[in-house]
């Protein structure tokens, strides 16, 4: 039951996106997210939408996964669209009770929804094509220069790695605890919301206690294997920025120039 859960949403593959260095992907994601807000012209949106669709289509990830990633946002999108449709002053094209739907509202609502959709799509492209481990690695490298201002890059990455490592172990343990409590007559599935939350206590308490014990033993094991923080540490799997990463950066720069030109021209 609980053991079926997979961590992250990574789909292994060999597409261009899969082969990019995680650092390059993270940086390009940030740049593209900024672009969504900077180049807010129909031409700019057309370029970004085209790029997102092209990358999604070539990523080798089932397209239904992208729709699924948008699903939690469905209500927000619909709500945003309706508010803008009805609350923007302008040329009324439909009147219903107290609502005045305007043409201006229609286009504003549409572009706002497109903006949100693009943000989700671009982040999904990153998480679907990058394994959690290389993502962690990439973040550590990118944050490393910030160590001078006190950002604990290595420690954050180590925490992420250990968390990822222990998710399946703790899921298994939760499963065992639940079965143990159920065999003593605990009931997790009936009652109102408040009652169900109360039922979680006998699961959470043993789980927390055992997690602390695990943490203690893990710390000893790490010390026994000469762990002493990020100083002087090397890595077996070094990250390499290759031609494909420079090419991706080049293409992004070209798209930026094109979108900039279109914005100047008012398209």
């Amino acid at each position: 039951m609980l053991t079926d859960i997979t961590i992250g949403q990574f789909f292994p593959g060999t597409s261009i996106l899969h082969r990019l260095d995680p650092r390059a992907k993270l940086l390009l994601l940030l740049v593209l997210m900024a672009a969504i807000f900077v180049f807010d012209t129909p031409g700019g949106y057309a370029v970004l939408t085209g790029l997102a669709l092209l990358l999604a289509a070539t990523s080798g990830v089932p397209l239904s996964m992208y729709f699924r990633s948008l699903r939690p946002l469905w209500w927000i999108l619909a709500f945003t669209f309706l508010i803008h449709l009805c609350a923007t002053p302008g040329e009324v094209f439909f009147h219903f009770w107290i609502f005045d739907m305007t043409k201006e509202g229609l286009s504003r609502g549409f572009f706002l929804c497109l903006r949100l959709t693009l943000l989700i799509l671009f982040s999904s492209l990153l998480t679907f094509t990058t394994s959690p481990l290389s993502l962690t690695d990439g973040m550590e490298r990118l944050l490393r220069p910030l160590k001078v201002v006190g950002v604990p890059a290595h420690e954050l990455a180590m925490m992420m790695t250990i968390a990822l490592r222990f998710v399946p172990t703790l899921i298994e343990e939760t499963d065992t605890i639940m079965k143990a409590q159920q065999s003593r007559g605990a009931d997790f599935s009936t009652g109102n919301a408040l009652k169900r939350v109360r039922h979680l206590v006998p699961i959470l308490v043993p789980l927390f206690i055992s997690s602390f014990r695990r943490a203690d033993e893990l710390a000893t094991a790490m010390e026994a294997r000469c762990y002493r923080g990020g100083e002087g540490r090397t890595r077996m799997k070094e990250l390499h920025v290759g031609g494909i990463d420079y090419a991706a950066a080049g293409v992004t720069a070209l798209l930026f120039a094109a979108m900039g030109a279109m914005k100047m021209a008012g398209i």
Partner: protein, 255 residues
């Protein structure tokens, strides 16, 4: 006091088993061996290095590798080969050298085909073998195993013991093996018995397991063959002294 007047020296290349009931100080002794715990009085020397010398701490921990009881709580990385690489990474070994060591260590414990696996997909015995590989990758000279088989099934227990014996035989690695299983202790060259933080017996498996009475009094077992031989002798059946393994008992009985 967890350890009391312990005077023990373990030679290079020895295979020593440490026995004792819970709370007898076995684990405390093990943790002294790589400076996780430090002596409050007296001296603990590892390859000539005093464990209280802070500047040699990492040399000591590299020399003495530890494998703990719970296989889940000593695997750090989410992929087998990354976990084996953890030790040498901490020591600042260059990446191509780490790769070489990881390949060698995984081969030495017979886990090469599992290199890309997530640890939670492995059996207990396989996890312990990965933990052993993790210490080998640091070029450990001495392996201290603190009840490595206590949470394993019989198959896993055999896997771990076989791996340790092979490493001892083929690489001449020093082994300190803490266990509650007498059959495992019988595989050692020397057995040290602890009680209340003191060493009460120190000798060969034959000498220790030959005195079934003494072991019983300490709350410890002996291998089944030793016990059967002892009982038969009490019934007046003539058997040679110091029978420890099943094979020895069978040979003696058939004579």
């Amino acid at each position: 006091m967890a350890l009391d007047h312990v005077d023990l020296s373990i030679e290079e290349g020895e295979f020593v088993a440490i026995l004792g009931t819970n709370g007898s100080g076995k684990s405390t002794l093990a943790k002294q061996l790589n400076a996780i715990l430090l002596p409050t009085s007296g001296v603990c020397r590892v390859a000539g290095m005093d464990t209280r010398a802070a500047e040699r701490l990492w040399d000591i921990r590299q020399t003495v590798g530890m494998v703990f009881q719970n296989p889940d709580n000593q695997i750090i990385a989410a992929i087998v080969e990354d976990d084996v690489a953890f030790g040498p990474e901490n020591l600042g070994v260059p990446s191509d050298e780490i790769r070489r060591r990881v390949d060698e260590s995984l081969a030495a414990v017979g886990m090469t085909s599992f290199r890309g696996f997530a640890p939670h997909l492995l059996s207990g015995g396989q996890k312990q073998r990965v933990a052993i590989a993790g210490t080998l990758a640091m070029k450990t000279k001495c392996l201290v195993l603190d009840e490595p088989t206590a949470m394993l099934d019989p198959v896993g227990r055999r896997e771990v013991l076989e791996t340790v014996r092979r490493l001892h035989r083929e690489s001449g690695i020093t082994v300190v093996y803490i266990t509650h299983f007498m059959e495992e202790a019988a595989a050692a060259q020397r057995i040290v018995v602890m009680e209340d933080g003191k060493i009460v017996e120190d000798g060969s498996p034959k000498a220790i397991f030959g005195r079934v009475d003494a072991m019983r009094k300490r709350g410890l077992d002996v291998p089944l063959a030793a016990e059967v031989a002892w009982k038969l002798q009490k019934q007046g059946i003539q058997l040679p002294e110091n029978i420890v393994t099943n094979e020895e008992l069978a040979v003696a009985l058939c004579r």
